[in-house]
Amino acid sequence: MAKKKHKKKAFEIRWKTDLPYKYSMGKLSVKFFKVLKEERKLLGSKCPKCGKVHFPPRAVCAECLVLMTLDDMVEVPSVGTLVGFTVVNYPFVDPQTGGMRPFPYGYGLFQLDGVDTYTMHFINEKEVKNMQIGQRVSAVFKDKDEMEGNLGDIPYFEIIEEE
């Protein structure tokens, strides 16, 4: 039997559809984004039992099993420390958009001053040699009239020099 020159293309079904979902993000996140947009401030949640400050704000303290309410939200500074970093350099479909997420991009773990938990977010640095664990960082906000009340209002963290 003659060898086939080209492999026959596999059977393929293609379709495109919208799958709209809604997500209730919870009381604490609603307040966080309202205050972020209107006052350009960051709020965390503080456990009334153990005093642990969670950022991003969490509804329940895992260790105490205590519900945190709007009254337990406390302002946290927008500056902190770089705890870990990487530069993501591989392609994948972003489920947030349905398209490819642009890469490479800097991505880090941050600890804001006075906060007990850590925050994962973008960092505006793609050169590994410019980053070091322990560097001081600051959240960068969009201009006030561009704020939309979502996480995109803090597009990234940046490395800062402190006096």
């Binding site: 996140s29 870990g84 994948f92 994962m120």
Partner: protein
């Protein structure tokens, strides 16, 4: 206390590869199930209940236990329960199988884990497993956080990338002795790892596990049934699970505290005082080369930051005091829903003395580990005699 002693009496696994375009999911599951039933000389009717697991949304499917689990698993007219806990899916399955038999509810249970990773987008699917508001925007699947962990680990303990690369060399070299392993590399060297592309600093391509397709099936029986089936079951000595906070960023992402917590529980129940001396082999769930260094420390095999010494001194190499991942580990084979079940199945193979070229001599006790979720650990310790 468990009501019944529980033994593993049958094991099946497919040859793992990057793509199994020749089979659909039920056909693929059937291969492993058929092999496990043959191995235990059982018929589908001999099985009382089925536990099945995969991570549906990594493949863009859903409710797979309904359309994949009933015919091929074989769940027809039997109780079928789906277990899906991310990377730990296979170990959650393995531990749930133990509970089902140890409790006396069922005499014989079949556990099936599988994944057809290249038919979907695992990175995309993994992102959807995280908080839509806070975590999805920046998360890059599993490798981003694993890169952060490796970055923090190397910085805190001053460990070189070459030390991590030795893990890949060891495990993919071991995989050459495992006919089922996906990436078998008898001639692998350090340059192969160190010269591969940087995909998420400090992770190079060959510091990372592959995406594999395949299935693993394991049959459990209580003592009375197990002794009828074979003379060398692998007996459960202890199981332990430790889950952590919900967000990946609630705590620092290294030193795997859940492995320390779970191993203390599992060692105590199994009477293990010094894991290096008391265990004969360990199948550790290492998604990256760096992870095996850190996880083996968390399991108490070495001091913090000294995981690399285990390889340099030959302790975790084949022929060492405690070989780690004779099968080739996750760095060689990663079909997510089957990955942690393979750790238990391979530990059982070692205890049964059926490892052929990958067999460690005279194994009496073996450890299998699952890792996943938000820094979750699950452990199983097996022995060649029941623990009385």
């Amino acid at each position: 206390m468990a009501k019944n002693e529980v033994g593993i009496v049958g094991i099946g696994q497919t040859k793992f590869t990057s793509k199994r375009r020749d089979v659909n999911i039920p056909e693929m599951i059937y291969e492993a199930v058929d092999m496990a039933l043959d191995d235990a000389h059982l018929e589908p009717n001999d099985i009382d209940a089925i536990l099945i697991g995969n991570m549906d949304h990594f493949e863009g499917i859903n409710f797979s236990e309904m359309w994949c689990g009933i015919d091929a698993a074989p769940g027809y007219l039997k109780p079928v329960v789906k277990v899906a806990t991310g990377g730990t899916t296979g170990s959650s399955l393995g531990i749930a199988g133990y509970y089902n038999v140890a409790s006396g509810i069922y005499d014989k249970v079949l556990v099936v884990g599988w994944e057809k990773l290249n038919e979907g987008g695992a990175t995309t699917g993994i992102i959807t497993a995280f908080d839509p508001v806070w975590e999805r925007p920046s998360l890059a699947g599993a490798l981003g956080p694993l890169a952060l962990m490796a970055n923090m680990y190397m910085n805190k303990y001053n460990v070189s990338p070459e030390t991590a690369a030795m893990v890949t060399v060891k495990n993919r070299g071991n995989a050459a002795n495992n006919p089922f392993a996906h990436l078998q590399m008898p001639d692998i060297d350090l340059d192969y790892v160190m010269n591969s592309q940087m995909i998420s600093y400090p992770l190079r391509l060959n510091d990372c596990c592959p995406q594999s397709e395949g299935a693993c099936a394991v049959i459990y029986a209580n003592e009375q049934e197990a002794r009828k089936i074979r003379d060398n079951p692998a007996w459960f000595h202890s199981v332990a699970t430790a889950h952590y906070y919900a967000y990946g960023c609630d705590d620092v992402m290294f030193d795997l505290p859940t492995a320390t917590i779970a191993s203390k529980k599992a060692y105590k129940k199994a009477g293990i005082k010094d894991p290096i001396k008391d265990l004969d082999v360990a199948e550790v769930y290492e998604p990256t080369s760096w992870a095996e260094l850190s996880w083996t420390e968390a399991l108490g095999f070495a001091e913090k930051g000294k995981g690399g010494d285990l390889i340099k001194e030959g302790i975790t190499q084949m022929g060492g005091e405690l070989p780690v991942n004779p099968s080739g580990g996750v760095l060689s084979t990663n079909p997510i829903g089957a990955t942690a079940l393979l750790r238990i199945a391979e530990a059982a193979i070692q205890v049964m003395g059926r490892g052929d070229k990958r067999q460690v001599p005279d194994v009496e006790k073996a450890l299998g580990m699952g890792f996943g979720g938000s820094l979750w650990t699950e452990l199983v310790i097996l022995g060649n005699e029941p623990l009385r």
